[in-house]
Symmetry: C2
């Protein structure tokens, strides 16, 4: 299999969505090759008929969108460790994934987005800045000034997930499930793009994140973090 | 078993938490007696050592808090239909329940709270108004003026739940599970305290709510709604 994922300057891989797919492949114990794709490089992925990464290619099959990749891996590898933990668990994962995308990442992203500019390839810089400054109607630097007020809000938003990791090592319980990877994607993105501590040191989610970084022989720790 | 639940004027039962417990008991197919408790009546429930309803009394056992009641019913009646759908499902239910309490109900409550005053017993009116006007630093009437802006925000917040009921009849899948009852508690509270339509007519969640009202021989429809 090949996983096409966003690539920044010096081959850094910071995409929150690609991390979900990468962890899902590792969870299933599958071999895969990683193919980096620049933000502006639509040529490499034109075969997929759309413009977004991650993309999974499995023989003749092309799967786009990180959630569909998760479902594809679960359905094609039912005997490998489950990503969802059953039918109700699949609904949990879908709900949680959608909660991250619609309610969690939108709060954190503008606070740290300025850090992405240090990781963008030179040819992507103007596009990235223009896109998000247009969306938020502020410069990325102005958005970063919202950190002091925004981070406590972000931390409060995570209360329902925090409850779960107080009661068990992972959101999924004794072992991680896809909701763990969806939230991990938020924190590892933050760790790569910014040196800002987005959680308080004594937050149970901070200890959970350390456990997540340890998974699969420390896969997450291999990616250089912001200094 | 006895379920102690908040009682308003003319015996109306509008508590979002009591509805969760009532539906959980019906889901389990258990017989129970409902005991109405006025907002100011701490005497009737002093046996529980705390001041909040709902309370479930099962023989010698007293269980407080709607979430703990759900876990108690699941654990003491494992052969009745499951409220959670397994261990991962229990984590889903806990997460979802906490999401409703911390992120959904706080957005809707202030918009409709003025309607509760029409249902409060006369002796509870001043207490209720004082408590929430102090909390929000606005009169209940001023809070109600936020409906036009607030309801679209409330509807957007529900996107992750809406996704699930587009794909299956209930949040739990083919049959309702506790997350259905947690969200149902929000909507039936709204239906009793206010004639405001909190969902657009073509929202998939509006059709889901009608299915929920039909459950258990139309239990929810038996409670008079606001006109």
């Amino acid at each position: 299999m090949k996983l096409y994922e966003l690539r920044g300057k010096d081959d850094v891989r910071f995409s929150t969505f690609a991390w979900r797919s990468r962890m899902a492949l590792l969870h299933k114990g599958l071999d895969f090759e990683r193919v980096g794709v620049g933000m502006a490089d639509k040529e490499t992925i034109s075969f997929s008929g759309q413009k977004l990464v991650p993309i999974l290619v499995d023989g003749e099959t092309t799967v786009t969108d990180s959630w569909r990749i998760a479902e594809y891996l679960e359905d094609t590898h039912p005997d490998a460790p489950s990503l969802f933990g059953g039918d109700t668990g699949r609904r949990f994962a879908r709900f949680f994934n959608s909660w991250i995308d619609s309610q969690v990442m939108p709060v954190l992203f503008p606070l740290l987005a300025v850090g992405v500019t240090t990781l963008n390839a030179p040819e992507d810089e103007a596009h990235f800045r223009g896109k998000f400054e247009g969306l938020f109607k502020k410069t990325l630097e102005e958005l970063a000034e919202g950190r002091e007020a925004g981070l406590p809000k972000f931390q409060r938003l995570l209360a329902p997930a925090r409850d779960l990791v107080k009661a068990a090592p992972f959101i999924g319980g004794a072992m991680p499930l896809y909701p763990d990877y969806a939230l991990y994607g938020v924190f590892i993105w933050a760790r790569i793009v910014s040196s800002t501590q987005v959680l308080k040191a004594d937050d149970p989610l901070a200890a959970w994140f350390e456990r997540m970084l340890d998974l699969y022989e420390g896969e997450g720790r291999r990616q250089r973090a912001a200094v």
